[in-house]
Amino acid sequence: MEKELRLMKGNEAVAEAAIRAGADGYFGYPITPQSEILEYLMEANPQATTGMVVLQAESEVAAINMVYGGASCGKKVMTSSSSPGISLKQEGITYIAGAELPCLIVNVVRGGPGLGTIQPAQSDYFQATKGGGHGDYHLLVLAPASVQEMADFVELGFDLAFKYRNPVMILSDGAIGQMMEKVWLKPQKKRSEEILPWATTGKPATRERNIITSLDLDPGRQEHFNLKLIAKYREMEEKEVRFEEFMTDDAEYIFVAYGTSARLCQKALQLARAEGIKAGLLRPITLFPFPKKRLNELAASVKGMLAVEMSAGQMVEDVMLSVCGKTRVSHYGRMGGMIPTPEEVLENLKSFIKG
């Protein structure tokens, strides 16, 4: 299979990209607005071509624990869900983080809390970036803003997951998952046959048995392990921060927005510039690690930052922590599945400027 241009939904792009990235297994459970991922994979039937296992589990809980089992074998495994289903997966996610295993989790976010709505939202930011389950841990979180990035971040996500032996989350939303765009798909990669030294693949005489666990009853050793995890997260903060800037060179006011909100802000930025307002945009691509340093630098030269999110204000807290009071920070957001218009965003920028 060569590189190929297709018109696809974001969800379909994730599924096709997973096959092409040489994934070993996908374990899922239906939930709107991401069911196309499981449907696409079932129809594509990659078991017959690449040998990739696709299984519909009996629950999100079972699905993430299948991922845990597969990841423990050093396999390239993934799952996907939407907000209420991701809450159910948190048990497995914290075990996977605690056992230092690589895997990919896709969250096509819908509004909440509770059953909420099936419309797009960005209200799972805290859950995705601050841990989500119990215990001190972080996922590495990628935030796509296009169908192309939905596809690209699958392979990137797997690469980062194996590099750090840490779960990676693609934090998308119902809009990116459902909309269709053109997408360049990479050629088919072969599935890896490498046996990883830490993986549970059966104990040969040449090594000690491998044990995958997150349990240590000795508090001293457990704290030592916690410190090791923190060092890993610090290394991610040094090496893996990704973001994109638009017209920040001369900007007096900066939008900070990711995913669907970042696309809206690009339009709002043009409208603002047309009215003579020197607006810019910083789009975090990694939400953890967050582009703290760059925001702190920009804070010295701008008059304010407006975090635009489809939530009650979650990422804005990280923006505030990043700028350490050097500049004014405010938030504008819609909730419950409502998507702000660029005009609405511009109006809010104007009232923010007035103070």
Partner: protein, 258 residues
């Protein structure tokens, strides 16, 4: 006097029984008289005799046997409470030539993990599920389990299990035997030499059926919990024979067509 060595006492020609090579020298965390240690030894013997060490992946539960990976020398994954069959499902599907087993207690397999148990058996995953049923939550200190007998006292049923309030004990082996995905369902024990030999034969059958990809093998071991039952080991075995075995009768429940 010369130092007496191990070999002076145990003459190889007199050796009638020894621990499996696959049992490590780590000190077991189980209480005296508990059936877990014997079940581990039987399992280790079968893995050794069937030459399975190099292709076995075991999944341990949350419960008394949470540290099982310290005792048997094969690759292990430690699951969350009740989720072992989900891990095993993925392991077996991703690596179909491996020997995969779960080892779970009654709280793990028949309460919090009921959905995983039923659906793994229903899909007929080619794994062995080894179920130790001692009718109580041992590790957390003797609380009522889904398999606690009617009237039986525990720290959360201090006046005895009242089935009108707490439901009746679940016979999990009988339930999974009804599912087309299971190929072999049997109930065994480890409190007598005869019981141990029967369990060993059952485990060997499970290995054969897994090699033949015939579906899920489910072996229940009805066992004791001297600490949780507040009895001596001898009393607990007697109580088990008098009360547990009538409710959970030993023997094959489902065998594959030859």
């Amino acid at each position: 006097m010369a130092e007496i060595t191990f070999n002076d006492i145990i003459k190889p020609e007199n050796l009638a029984y020894k621990k499996s090579r696959l049992m490590t020298d780590n000190i077991l965390s189980y209480c005296p008289g508990c059936g877990h240690g014997t079940a581990h030894q039987v399992l280790a013997e079968v893995l050794e005799e069937e030459n399975l060490q190099e292709r076995t992946i075991g999944i341990t539960p949350v419960g008394c046997s949470v540290l099982m990976y310290n005792y048997i020398d094969v690759d292990f994954q430690e699951a969350a409470h009740g989720r072992a069959p989900a891990l095993a499902t993925a392991v077996k599907r991703l690596m179909p030539d491996k020997f995969v087993f779960t080892y779970q207690g009654d709280g793990d397999l028949a309460a919090i993990g009921t959905a995983e148990t039923i659906h793994t058996c229903n899909r007929g995953e080619n794994i062995l599920m080894l179920f130790i049923n001692n009718g109580i939550y041992g590790m957390t200190g003797g609380q009522m389990a889904p398999t606690t007998l009617p009237g039986m006292k525990s720290s959360t049923s201090p006046y005895g299990r009242d089935v009108s309030m707490m439901g009746s004990p679940i016979k999990m082996a009988d339930i999974v035997a009804m599912l087309p995905g299971t190929c072999y369902v049997t109930r065994q024990s480890v409190n007598t030499a005869g019981g141990v030999r029967k369990l060993k034969r059952a485990l060997k059958k499970a290995v054969q059926y897994q090699n033949e990809k015939r579906g899920t093998c489910f072996i229940e071991v009805v066992s004791n919990c001297p600490s949780g039952w507040k009895m001596t080991p001898v009393e607990s075995n007697k109580w088990m024979e008098e009360h547990m075995f009538p409710f959970y009768p030993l023997g094959d429940i489902k065998v594959p067509a030859e």
